[in-house]
Amino acid sequence: MSLQLIVNGISLGAVYALIAVGFALVFSILKFSNFAHGGMISAAAYIAYFFYASFETPPSLWVTLLFTAAVSLGVALLLDTLCYRRIRKNNSPNIYYFVGSITFAILIEQILTVFFGKTSYGFPGMFEVASVRLLGASFAMMDLVVLAVSIAMLAVLMLLINRTRIGLAIRAVAINPRASRLMGINSGFIVLFTFALAGFLAGVSGTLLGIKYSVYPALGSSMMVKGFIASVIGGLGSLSGAIIAAILLGVIEMVSVYFLGSSVTPAILFGIMLVFLFLRPQGISGKFAQDKV
């Protein structure tokens, strides 16, 4: 029991981590919680589904993932152009970003509902064997794939942020945009690059969630709450904190549902978030991004 629950929890946490990291990336640079990320994830799930379903011989999971992530990257840049760029240019207060992101989250979900809400969409099973038994426990193949892809994506992202010049530039802009500009960093490009990265992650998350569950307009928003909790517990704006918190959240949720039931578990998760906000607002990571919205 315990091994299966913990692996299931880590797999669930890995999905939360992908969402929380997309959230944290934008927060670290622009200091606002990009709730439109949930809408992006839903849109990505539909993009992945229709791409996959458009071939007589369906493409592989990896091709679908790459295609969707690339298109989502473009959608994220479009979202930035339509919504955030003007706010940035006018140096408007953070509340404008917040309102804009909420508006776009609802708008994307509503558009998806209008065009696709009357039909249910689901990917077919992608594996000949749905689950495998290891050490007396049963593991779903899709969970193992989600776990592997999430870990790989997060590892690449951490390498990019911590070991490359552009990662250094992202960290510099996150810490002090003005000083970064004075040091010759093109902060406008860094913001765009960050949105593109978040869009890419939304594409991967949307594809994996769509395959794992089913494709529906509220898919992203239903997962965003957990992603948000993870990013708060991890320390808003901290990537490593978000990852650790998300994995912990997944395991705690799984164990709590098993022992206490599904009605009590949300209260426990929100309770943990409140405890962190009261006692350690900087989160697990200990890093605190200012101007939280």
Binding site: Y216, E253, Y258
Partner: protein, 419 residues
């Protein structure tokens, strides 16, 4: 200047919002096919203005947008199609029916707004209700106050009878077996035909439809010699139920009853099988499509309820469902098209039996007496004691090798349980 611009934007948003609100409550689904007939309907005391002045105006409130729009749209089409059929056959005592479709968006307050508009402004003779129970529960008292007959597919028994007294609400009627009747049917089938001794249940505790299936199912099993080993639930909005599936798999009952909407059913089924459960799965009447397009694990040893044999060309419901797919472009058969059709046919039978179709008490009294109304798959009789159907068989189905629904049996409850 900036403040003026902001004020202008806000004013535009408020105006747009107000207009959108009116549209939602006032016209609802007027862009959808069923509402086209409503264009001819006036608001002058139930007498259609521009269309046929002799027409009888009825309303239908369905979930045309929101999370339940897949079922609601099919239901609304079924109502509109039944009206077409009735009118082609000469109408109700020579008078054509006209229907106004409203969208309650799977929202209780929207449902009340739609109801008030149909009753106060449009002065309809009766209302065909949605398949969802939550909006219908809010109309129980309203329909009594307004003497407004409502026939629908809100399967929660609390929509039609007072749960404390057992007395039927005078103006609420259900045109298919209720949740408990359906659950008793699959429970009885499992005990008698499949030899099940122990069961578990797996359902959405935040959905009255699911709760009203799971509890009667467990009740029937325990009262008839079976044993309930596990009752696992999740909440609306949850997306991962693997912990519950693991518990069910560990309890390892002979059968697990899953009774939610299709998408949740598919997830529950997948999680159960992935957790290693290899026993029998029993399902409610939403194990039909799109369940088979959403489920990812192999479906085996699975028996579920159906109201109609809609994939059988020899069944009368087949033509209705095919027509629905043809006219709407929906790619898989949905029984809700038959549900809307059935409710309208039951209502039409009552309207035919009265002198004045706008006399609510007379129509309600006639609905109590409806016998053998021409439903999509068979005759429908209303039980005067419950205002639900009487003696209506539930079909037991499984998936065949082509992953199509195959009806394998029909089960009619004994009089004791057919309540």
């Amino acid at each position: 200047m900036k403040n003026k611009t902001l004020a202008g934007i806000l004013a535009a948003c408020l105006t747009f919002g107000a207009l959108a609100g009116c549209s939602a409550a006032g016209n609802g689904s007027q862009s959808d096919a069923p509402s086209q007939t409503a264009g001819a309907a006036g608001s002058n005391g139930g007498e259609p203005a521009a269309g046929n002045e002799d027409a009888i105006l009825i309303g239908t409130i369905q979930d045309l947008s929101g999370g339940a729009s897949e079922a609601g749209t099919a239901n609304a089409w079924g109502v509109e199609y039944a009206v077409r059929v009735i009118n082609e056959q000469g109408g109700v005592n020579g008078r054509p029916l006209e229907v106004i479709a409203m969208d309650c968006k799977n929202d209780v307050q929207e449902g009340v707004n739609c109801y008030r508009l149909l009753v106060d402004e449009k002065n309809v003779a009766a209302i065909v209700g949605p398949p969802l129970s939550n909006p219908a529960l809010a109309w129980v008292d309203l329909s009594t106050e307004d003497e407004m007959p409502i026939v629908g597919h809100f399967m929660d028994e609390r929509c039609t009878t007072n749960e404390n007294t057992g007395e039927p609400y005078p103006y609420m009627f259900l045109a298919e077996p209720g949740c408990a009747q359906q659950s008793y049917s699959i429970a009885a089938y499992a005990l008698e035909k499949l030899g099940i001794k122990t069961v578990g249940t797996f359902y959405n505790a935040g959905l009255s439809y699911a709760v009203m299936h799971a509890e009667p199912f467990a009740d029937y099993i325990t009262k008839n010699g079976g044993q309930v080993l596990a009752e696992e639930s999740f909440q609306t909005g949850d997306v991962d139920y693997r912990a519950q599936a693991v518990k069910l798999a560990q309890a390892n009952p002979d059968a697990v009853f899953i009774c939610n909407y299709a998408a949740d059913n598919a997830l529950c089924y997948d999680y159960l099988r992935e957790a290693g459960y290899q026993g029998i799965v029993l399902g409610n009447n939403t194990f039909q499509a799109p369940f088979n397009t959403l489920v990812k694990t192999k479906v085996y040893d699975t028996y579920f309820l159906q109201n109609v044999d809609m994939e059988n060309p020899d069944d009368p419901s087949y033509a209705i469902v095919q027509k629905y797919m043809e006219e709407t472009g929906v790619k898989y058969p949905i029984a809700n098209a038959c549900f809307g059709y059935d409710a309208t046919m039951v209502l039409a039978e009552a309207l035919k039996a009265v002198d004045d179709p706008y006399d609510g008490p007379a129509v309600a009294a006639a609905l109590v007496e409806v016998k053998d109304a021409p439903g999509a798959a068979g005759p429908i009789t209303i039980n005067p004691k419950t205002h639900r159907t009487l003696g209506m068989p539930m079909l037991i189905a499984e998936y065949d090798e082509n992953f199509s629904v195959k009806i394998i049996d029909a089960y009619t409850l004994s009089e004791e349980w057919d309540q």
